[in-house]
């Protein structure tokens, strides 16, 4: 590890496959046709939304492993995270696998944390295959962080909409032809004093800016070296703030920045600034961007998943919202 927090993976771990399951609202979006499974029922036939979220994660991992004609025992570790208290979706879904499990929590940045850890295990020759995944569900997140679904409350215009979706990735030893995770930067926790719990994008933008700047410096690259710089779930407002912040650092993100939260929804109801949640960057990258890397339409991208590290208790106690962002460079392999 050089330049504190940036990891260079010399053995070129690859993302061998990805699998996504999303809810009904996500299926109707522009990206709808790219997802592997689109649920018609956001309860997924379960008695509660929490169980549905867990099942989404379980099924996405099961189908991912099956698609590669692997068995549970071929996978060395499952690394997954979600937004619920005690990350129950991640832990409970691991019950169904005969695979060692690491649960991670970095709010909506969990997927990049999982992919970084997965790639590290592969790179260090500690594992041959790891499954990295993240899930979120609109109904469970609303209930944990906000109000009951049927309460007639107004969502403010800076609010975002938690994505119902699970995305799983198989990170494996180097194989030619697959997108390589070449480096990763572990984010610092940054807090500029935003206290509005509805304004997650604003809370996370400084962390995204910090991580992008650090990653570019450590890897000795500039924004134009990447076909795309993809942030997780800053939303429209957060993306704008990120660009403003980056400009002050002398970075121009305007030409090649996209945000998964902005991509995922057609803004026609109360999504306002776009999607959010651990599932947001996870499903958008897995279904839409990863295949483009695989088919070499995109050569190199920087995925920066962003997380707002608040809890309902912390915000009620008047704490501001710390943000974190982890970045990974994914590029087409040269051989």
């Amino acid at each position: 590890m050089t330049d504190k927090g940036t990891l260079f993976f010399k053995n070129k771990p690859v993302i061998k496959s990805a699998f996504t399951i999303v809810g009904p609202k996500e299926s109707q979006s522009e990206l709808g046709k790219f997802f592997d499974i689109c649920l018609k029922d956001d309860r997924y036939g379960e008695s509660s939304y929490e169980k549905a979220e867990c099942k989404m994660l379980t099924m996405s991992m099961k189908r991912l492993i099956e698609r590669q004609k692997l068995k549970d025992s071929d996978v060395d570790a499952i690394i997954s995270g979600d937004l619920l208290n005690q990350i129950i979706s991640a832990s409970f879904s691991a019950r169904d696998f005969e695979t060692p499990f690491l649960g991670v929590y970095n709010a909506c940045a969990s997927i990049c944390e999982a992919l970084t850890l997965g790639a590290t295990l592969i790179d260090g020759n500690y594992a041959k295959n790891t499954v990295c995944s993240a899930v979120s569900h609109f109904a469970t997140a609303e209930r944990q962080y906000r109000y009951p679904l049927e309460l007639g409350a107004i969502r403010p215009a800076q609010a975002q909409w938690t994505v119902t979706g699970a995305g799983s990735y198989l990170v494996s030893e180097h194989l030619s032809g697959y997108p390589v995770i070449s480096s990763a930067t572990i984010g610092r926790v940054i807090d500029f004093g935003i206290t509005d719990v509805n304004n997650m994008g604003a809370a996370m933008a400084p962390a995204a800016c910090s991580t992008i700047t650090r990653h570019l410096r450590a890897t000795n690259t500039t924004t134009s070296d990447y076909d795309l710089i993809v942030t997780g779930d800053l939303g429209a407002l957060g993306s704008r703030l990120l660009k403003e912040l980056a400009k002050k650092q002398g970075l121009d993100l305007e030409p090649n920045h996209v945000d998964c939260g902005e991509l995922i929804y057609n803004i026609d109801e109360d999504e306002f600034q776009g999607g959010s949640g651990a599932g947001c960057s996870s499903v958008v990258f897995a279904s839409y961007l990863y295949p483009m890397l695989k088919s070499k339409k995109i050569k190199k991208l920087l995925l920066v998943a962003t997380g707002a590290l608040l809890s309902t208790l912390s915000s009620q106690q008047g704490e501001s919202i710390p943000g974190v962002a982890h970045a990974i460079t994914v590029e087409c392999s040269n051989d």
């Binding site: 049927e150 007639g152 004093g193 604003a202 400084p206 403003e244």
Partner: protein, 157 residues
């Protein structure tokens, strides 16, 4: 370290955020709130007239029965998944009338049904409405005391 007005507080950034954050279009939301709120009151008035002319109710009985019908309708609409849609449009207009109170009790009850009847539904039923009840009771006690004292002083009859 944390929270407002502390070491990490980046004034420049927070000001930028408040400048870029979209503002509520107040004339529009106020219009929505007032016409829906007024319309709910009109329905209440209509129920009152029907109850008084059809069942001969009057005074406290009439007021109580009218509230009960409104509460029932609101609970029904909440259960059918309609009231939250009205709320999204009307905001305060559908929160302030008694129907909003009913919605704030019924919606958590529905939400927490999955945690069981006692620890889920019954315990969580008042998570939203709890403060309203607390301040309602405190307010009524205070009003009663003032009324009593003013009566002793002979200010009011």
């Amino acid at each position: 370290m944390t929270g407002k007005n502390n070491a990490n507080f980046n004034k420049e950034y927070v000001e930028l955020v408040s400048k870029l954050t979209p503002k509520t279009n107040e004339p529009k939301t106020l219009f929505h709130a007032f016409w829906v709120g007024g319309f709910i009151c009109m329905i209440g008035q209509f129920i009152k007239i029907v109850l008084s002319s059809a069942f001969g109710l009057y005074g406290d009985n009439l007021a109580g029965a009218t509230s009960m019908v409104l509460i029932f309708l609101s609970a029904l609409l909440t259960g059918l998944g309609v009231y939250d849609r009205i709320g999204k449009y009307a905001g305060g207009g559908s929160i302030v009338p008694i129907t909003g109170f009913a919605n704030s009790v019924v919606s958590p009850a529905m939400e927490f049904k999955s945690e069981g009847f006692v620890y889920g539904l019954s315990a969580k039923m008042f998570t939203v409405a709890g403060p309203i009840i607390v301040f309602g009771v405190i307010g009524s006690v205070a009003t009663g005391l003032i009324y009593y004292v003013l009566g002793l002083l002979g200010v009011i009859a």
